[in-house]
Amino acid sequence: MNSWLDHLAIAPIVIPLLTGAAMVVVGERRRMIEAGLGVASTLLLLAVSIALLRMADSTDQAMLRVYRLGDWPVTFGIVLVVDRLAALMVLLTSILGFSALIFSLARWYRKGAHFQPLFQFQLMGLNGAFLTGDLFNLFVFFEVLLAASYGLALHGPVVARVKAGLHYIAVNLTASLLFLVGVSMIYGIAGTLNMADLAARIPAIPAEDRALLEAGAAILGVAFLIKAAMWPLGFWLPNTYSAASAPVAAILSILSKVGVYAVLRLWLLLFGDTAGDSAGFGGSWLLFGGLLTIAFGSVAVLATQHLTRLAGASVLVSSGTLLAAVGTGQVAITGGALFYLASSVLAIAAFFLLIELVDRGRELGADVLAVTREAYGDETEDEDAQEEVGIAIPAGTAILGTSFLACGLLLAGLPPLSGFLAKFAILAPLFGPGQDGLSLTGWAILIALLLSSLTTIIAVARAGINAFWKPAAEAAPSVRMTELGPIGFLLILCVILTVQAGPVMRYMEETAQSLHAPRNYIEGVFTGSADAGTGGRP
């Protein structure tokens, strides 16, 4: 193995860090250089994350690469761990980063100061949070990504953005404090913060300390679930996401998945089947919290009058679906949930970008007016009913309409796109050959998922009718290729997810299996790069 390949694991953190620093030096006056640096960095990240994914998926039995910073022994130093889940999340981050950056180049990044460096630091924080192998660095990277997201959420300040940003920052600062309390409680009991070491030590924790450890883990879980916006901790989310500018909202859509990732990783690692008396601790909280989040999100989807809030509410639905699916604690369902994660992150990001284009060129508050008109009847409805036989649809509107339809199908989980496959992959194991009849939780998940699909399709269809089926007199919104391109890119990726569902699903299932049986992870971290990292790759 080449020596530079050994350092590939840290590249997703170092590349955006250096690029962001270089952008600060270059300064905002030289926009072309800055934009060029941004595009180069995100392209490089995309390449690196694809390489990491292939590496993590390689068939040799050491399924993870451990990168020890400064080459300190694992229990003393800091480690980065690349396994299938981390590689998948890093890849999703770079895809979203690339799309949102290209989209922002059309006009958004000029609306306020320091968009580009903040964007790079955001990517750095996200990648770091996905790659790190110990709890305290998880905290540090959380703070990096949150600090960047505070700046980005306020980008191009209007009053609504500052008001929503104020709540967002206050909620997340409190969550960070809870995070610290949880981390220090766990350290006080277990004496380590390395995730693998922690997982190895938990079965041996004496019974009198176990309650304290579980309390610490629960506080930590609350901090993650605030990020993941589980009901009732997620009231801040729709406000913040709908107030943020479009490219920022697109990148924020993976921010809520950071919380889901942390829950998935730590819960299965620390409280999996091998955790002794603590096995499965908190699982029912995840399950029922997830179900309640789906219910709340579904109602919110129906109740919204703005497209942006509709997208924000569908983030809630997707978080709830993931938490409920993870909370069942079944390997097959986790595999489906991971597929759903990939599909919904791409779809929601595309939806946020699309909404900005659709909203452009409509008068302010058009959504609200349309809903009100529906409720009270439209007086001008049949004035020009017999006028036109065929209407020429402008190309821009046609493309936007098609993309909107695709996003709607993806969000609602209807065939033929990947949203359907994802929901099917979550539900199918419930009816599998091993199950005789549905359990109560099985029924609850089934009903929640189907109802959320129904409400989403109703809300999206209503919004789409209001946005696109209107007199041609209103000018079609002017859009550029740099804005349509990223949306098309994200949607094509969803199509690829659909067509290549077999290989993707195999990857997700293997990820789920290694998450549910973390022995490989723990041993891999301890043996370190000594043999797991440099071992026989072709």
Binding site: F136, V140, E143, L146, A147, Y150, G151, L154, P157, V159, V162, K163, G165, L166, H167, I169, A170, L173, T174, S176, L177, L180, V181, V183, S184, M185, Y187, G188, L193
Partner: protein, 114 residues
């Protein structure tokens, strides 16, 4: 010593929680600061409370927490102090921006009906 420390942490936390639930942005920021003091003390205390423990091992002695103070919580608390200082400063800027844009220091950006 344990009782005094836990009382101090509890008092700071209680005051902090009360303040962040108040409607004025200045109260919220003071509340967050008090909470972060409480959390910092809490992290510091997880290493165990001892007086006079050596910070660094004597040469030739075995590495055991009985002989020296636990350095990790100290490192953690240092990081936590720096981060909470930075985020508080950032929050202060947003707070001033909100005050300037909305003309009120209410957290919702508008006064409730009196």
């Amino acid at each position: 010593m344990e009782a005094i420390l836990s009382l101090a942490i509890g008092l700071l936390t209680a005051s902090g929680v009360w303040l962040i639930l108040r409607p004025r942005t200045f109260q919220v920021i003071i509340g967050l600061s008090l909470l972060s003091y409480a959390v910092n003390l809490f992290i510091f205390s997880t290493g165990g409370l001892r007086i006079g423990a050596a910070p660094i091992l004597e040469p030739g002695t075995a590495g055991d927490l009985a002989q020296h103070a636990d350095p990790l919580p100290q490192a953690l608390v240092l990081t936590a102090i720096v981060i909470s200082f930075a985020t508080t400063a950032l929050f202060l800027v947003v707070l001033l921006a909100a005050r300037g844009l909305t003309g009120t220091d209410h957290v919702d950006g508008r006064e409730t009906d009196q």
